[in-house]
Structure formats: C-alpha cells, structure tokens
C-alpha cells in the first residue's frame, strides 16, 4: 500500500513511541539559586533606607506588607519555582533571577513607586484640564518660531550630513587611508557623540550667547550640527564597513586613487543608507529643537518654555499638538522618500 491517509499517518506513531521529555534541571543548582535569592534579600534588607510598609486598602480591611525586600524575595522564589516546574535550564533560571535582582535593586535605589500619583492628584488635575483644552489660535501666533525651528533643522541637517559623510569615509577602515586615521577619527567621533544635544546647546549658548543676545538660532544650529555629525558619521561609517568589497578591489586594480575609489565604488553603495540617515536626523532635529528651547536656543522650544513659565498650559498644549503633527508629517515624508530610494 503506497498511499496512506493523513489521519492514519498521524495516528500510527502515537501508540508505540514515547517522545523524549526535556531533561530535568539539577535540583541542587536550583537550591543554590534559592540560596542566592535569600542572600540578595538579606543584602537588600540591610541596605534599605526606610521601614516603609505597603498598605493595600481593600475597603473592609487594610492589608500591609513590609515594602520591597520581602516582595522582592517572594517574586524571586516564585520565579525560580516556575522555572523549575517548566524544566528550564539552570543558566536561564540564573538569568531570570539576576534580572529580577537588578531591576529590584535599581528601582529601590531611585525610590520608584507609582503609589504617590493619587496623592498628588489635586496638583495634577488643573494642568491636565488645561492640556485637554488647547488654545488652537496660539499655533498660528508662533508661526515665526516654527519657521525658525524648521530652518534650523534644514541647515543643521544639510551641513551635518556633508561633514558626517566625510568623517565616515575617514572613520571606516575600508575607506580611510590607513588604520591610524580611522582610529583617530573614530575616537573624535565618539567624543562628539558622548555629549548629548542638550549638552552641545548649553555649551554653545555659553560660548556665543543664546536668545537673550539674539543669537538663539545660531547656537541651536551649531548644537544640532554637532549632534547630526555624530549620528550620521557613526551610522554611515558602519554602512561603509559592510559594503561589497568586490567593486572596491576592482577600482583599486584599475589604478584609482583613494578618493576616486571611495567616490566611484563606495559612495554609490552607501548612498541609499546615507540619504535615509539624513532624513532620520532631520526628523530628530525637529523634535530636539523643542527640548533645546529650554536651554535658551531659538525656535519653537523657546516659545514653549516661555508659555510654561507663565503657566499658560493651554498654549503649551497647542504647541505640543502642533509638534506631534509636524513630526508625523516629516516622518511620513521621509518614509515615502526612503521607499522610493531602496
């Protein structure tokens, strides 16, 4: 008989064969892990700063529990029990335990708790109401600031991408003249990237003066520029690392200079990626300029800061909503371009 029905083939092996079970993890190691959990609990108990108690109001009775260390221990032991029951390997169980310990320790250190939000409700409520009722006409009032924000983003993106491309060419070992150059440029690039955009803005406001001196947009452009150079150079140089080496070798074999082979064999390969990074930083720039206003560079951020200081939350809400719309539009535009490109 050549043909057997599907049902027959499915039913056949069930009767006789026993499928192998996952191996049972070592109970001894699990015991050790439980010991580790208890040890962690003792450490947390000793280093905890307050004897806070978690109160759980249930209407008729209020349950209480010593805050955090005990909860942490229970969570750890439950997690271990679940892992053991599911026959998870000891290494994975250790990973789960470590994850719980780390997140518990970090959360306890900064005092992370959601319990305070209800207590502050009286403070939150009026502002929330203002945010829910934005002053729509205000969006049009600050159109000049919008124009400045977008111009800042355009200039910073164009110049930043140009400089970033050159740096990327020198940073990648594939396209740089020698190893020393690429290491140096990479180090410089790391320094540029290690300072956040707000840090650059603070620096440039301190150096050349901010909105108060009428130089807000200038400081903003310079800050965004450094921010963009860092991102574009990093991403592009990693794209260059991964280009197909064949055309590069062919250009070398035909006697091209370094610049020629970078232009002819590498640039065409990284161009789609590069343009896409440019669109991405343009989007970042629009968003970042809102935060940069706080430290005194021009644009929509400074308008928002002004309204915040005056407690005009309905105006702030209008700006925030406009910001969301603008960022969405830029995002849709760049997605369209990227699709056309790739």
């Amino acid at each position: 008989m050549v043909t057997t029905s599907t049902a027959e083939r499915r039913a056949a092996p069930q009767a006789a064969t026993v499928r192998p079970e996952p191996p049972r993890p070592s109970g001894l190691v699990y015991l050790g892990l439980a010991g580790l959990a208890v040890l962690a609990f003792i450490v947390f108990w000793v280093i905890q700063e307050s004897g806070d108690v978690l109160l759980i109001p249930l209407g008729f009775v209020t349950l209480w529990a010593p805050l955090n260390p005990v909860i942490g221990l229970v969570v750890m032991l439950v997690a271990l029990a679940v892992c053991f029951k599911a026959r998870i390997g000891t290494m994975a169980a250790f990973g789960a335990l470590a994850f719980i310990m780390m997140s518990y320790w970090a959360g306890a250190t900064v005092g992370f708790t959601l319990l305070e939000i209800p207590e502050r409700w009286s403070n939150v409520e009026p502002r929330l109401m203002a945010f829910l009722d934005p002053n729509w006409s205000y969006i049009w009032t600050v159109r000049d600031q919008w124009l400045i924000t977008i111009s800042m983003a355009v200039v910073a993106t164009l110049v930043g991408c140009a400089i970033g491309l050159v740096l990327a060419m020198y940073a990648s070992p594939v396209s740089s003249p020698n190893k020393g150059t690429s290491q140096t440029i990479k180090a410089v690039n790391s320094v540029i990237r290690s300072i956040p955009d707000v840090g650059w803005a603070l620096l440039f406001v301190a150096f050349i003066g901010g909105t108060a001196h009428g130089l807000g947009p200038m400081a903003g452009i310079l800050a965004l520029l450094m921010f963009n150079i860092g991102i574009v150079a990093k991403l592009t140089s990693e794209t260059i690392d991964a280009v197909n080496p064949g055309p590069v070798e062919a250009a070398d074999a035909s006697g091209a200079t370094l610049t020629q082979r970078n232009r002819l064999a590498i640039l065409p390969q990284v161009l789609p990626g590069f343009v896409s990074y440019g669109l991405y930083v343009f989007e970042l720039n629009i968003r970042a300029s809102a935060a940069l206003g706080i430290v005194g560079v021009g644009g929509i951020g400074s308008a928002m800061m002004l309204q915040l200081n005056r407690f005009q939350f309905e105006n702030v809400a209008a700006i925030l909503i406009a910001l969301i719309v603008v960022v969405l539009l830029v995002d849709m535009f760049s997605m369209y371009i990227r699709r056309k490109l790739l």
């Binding site: 064949g246 062919a250 006697g255 091209a256 020629q260 002819l264």
Partner: protein, 259 residues
C-alpha cells in the same frame, strides 16, 4: 612581457602563497593557469598588479620593476594592467557606462571623478569598449539589471577602457553557466588576438583552458609544476598536477551554440 624571478609570497598569517616561482610570459600570449583551489592561482595573478604584495624576488611587467611598497608606482602599474574577477565586481546600483568609466580613473583628475564629469574622449573610449563586447545598447541601464554573462562583459569593457597591456582574469567564468562561459571566453580570446593584449586567466575547467589558451601553467601548493603549450597539457600531465584522477567536474562541456 612579464618576468617572475624567484618570487615568494608569504601572507601576514605565515601561510606561504607562492614559493620560488620563475616564469616568463611573453607579450600577447594567452596563458591559462590551472590547479586545485588553494594551489596559489589567485595569488600568482594578484602578485602581477600588486593586490597581493610579494615578499621576495623580482617581478618585471613590461619595462617596469614592480615595487609593492610604493602606492604611486603601483597605481601607475595598475593603470596598464586590467583585472577581471569571478564575481564581476561591478557597482550594481549605477549605470553600465559609469562602471566602465571606473576603468578611466587612472587617467582622470580626482576632481572630475568626484563630480562624475568625465571628458568626452573618456566617454567615447568607454563606448568603444562596450561596442567591442557587444553591449553598447545597455550603456545607460543599471548594472544590476543585466544577466551574469552581460555583467562579466561590462567588467571586460571596464578593463578595455584602461587601454591595458595585460589582462588578468581570476576565475572569470566560474560563476557562469557553460554556454555563457564559452561566450565570455571567446570574447576574451578575440580581444587578446585583435589587440595583442597579454592575457592570464585562472580556471579550473580543463576543456576551457585547452580550447582558448596558448599555454597552460599548472600549480600545486604555491609552486609551478607544469608549464607548456596546450598540446602538452594532456590528461596524464594534469592528473600529475592535481595529484588525482580527472572527474566530470573538471570540464565545463556544452560548447556554446554559435550566435
């Protein structure tokens, strides 16, 4: 004329690529290099244009003594020595014409390359090269849209645009199906005969070597173990080179249908 005198190649990891190679390849010759993979065929070819620097010995190409340490001298040498690769090595995102123009790099100022603004005579030379391999009508198509055989012809045109004295071909037909392999080999042979360009081709298909080359060089473990005209490269001799009996994989069969 290319002369190898006691050429050794030792790779940075200590692997010996070539050991004591002595060869003389005459102007206008079509030489096929055969050998198993790892025998040093690619190393031998890449030594000629300095892509792999030799570690001792003397190498002369034409009247120039090759100096692998001088980048400027290597560039001048490479402008006269074209190379064709197994995987074509085209920039697939740009047009066929721009790929061919890469071959003009050595004679083009860097600023012109940067702007992509080539001289009219360079473009004309590129078109002539494309004409010679019969795909001038594809000049403004993306290289990616071409078939494998057509891409290898673009690579040949790129080499011709260099106006070379020597063509090096590293497994030029290994990625192609048998009929296309024959077509590309016929193109190479025709160009070698029409223009008198010294041509050195690596291959692992014996029948291709026998039908298109003048001379066969057999390599094993970095050494030249056979060197003679095609007629002398009999099956017995090649089995000596390979140190095993020949199999069906050593031939490509399927002679191309005449176009």
């Amino acid at each position: 004329m290319i002369t190898f005198e006691n050429i050794d190649v030792v790779y940075p990891n200590g692997f010996k690529g070539l050991s004591n190679v002595n060869l003389q390849i005459n102007k206008g010759e079509f030489v096929a290099i055969v050998g198993l993979s790892g025998a040093g065929k690619s190393t031998l070819i890449r030594t000629v244009n300095g892509l792999v620097p030799f570690t001792s010995g003397t190498l002369t190409v034409g009247d120039v003594v090759v100096d692998p340490r001088s980048k400027a001298k290597l560039r001048r040498l490479r402008s006269r020595v074209g190379m064709i690769f197994q995987s074509f090595n085209l920039v697939t995102r740009v047009s066929v014409l721009n790929n061919v123009l890469v071959g003009r790099s050595a004679d083009t100022p860097t600023w012109r390359s940067l702007l992509g603004w080539y001289r009219a005579e360079d473009k004309e030379l590129a078109f002539q090269s494309l004409e010679r391999v019969g795909i001038v009508d594809k000049a403004y198509m993306r290289a990616a849209s071409l078939s494998g055989g057509q891409q290898q012809r673009v690579a040949i045109a790129r080499v011709l645009a260099q106006d070379p004295e020597v063509i090096l071909a590293d497994e030029p037909v290994a990625s192609l199906d048998p009929p296309t392999a024959h077509k590309v080999m016929r193109d190479l042979r025709r160009i070698q005969q029409e223009l008198g360009i010294t041509t050195i081709v690596n291959m692992h298909h014996l029948d291709l070597a026998r039908s298109y080359a003048d001379r066969v060089i057999g390599m094993r473990a970095g050494e030249v173990v056979f060197d003679g005209p095609v007629e002398e490269a009999t099956d017995e001799v090649i089995e000596q080179v390979y140190q095993r009996s020949l199999t069906a994989e050593d031939i490509v069969t399927a002679e191309a249908t005449q176009e």
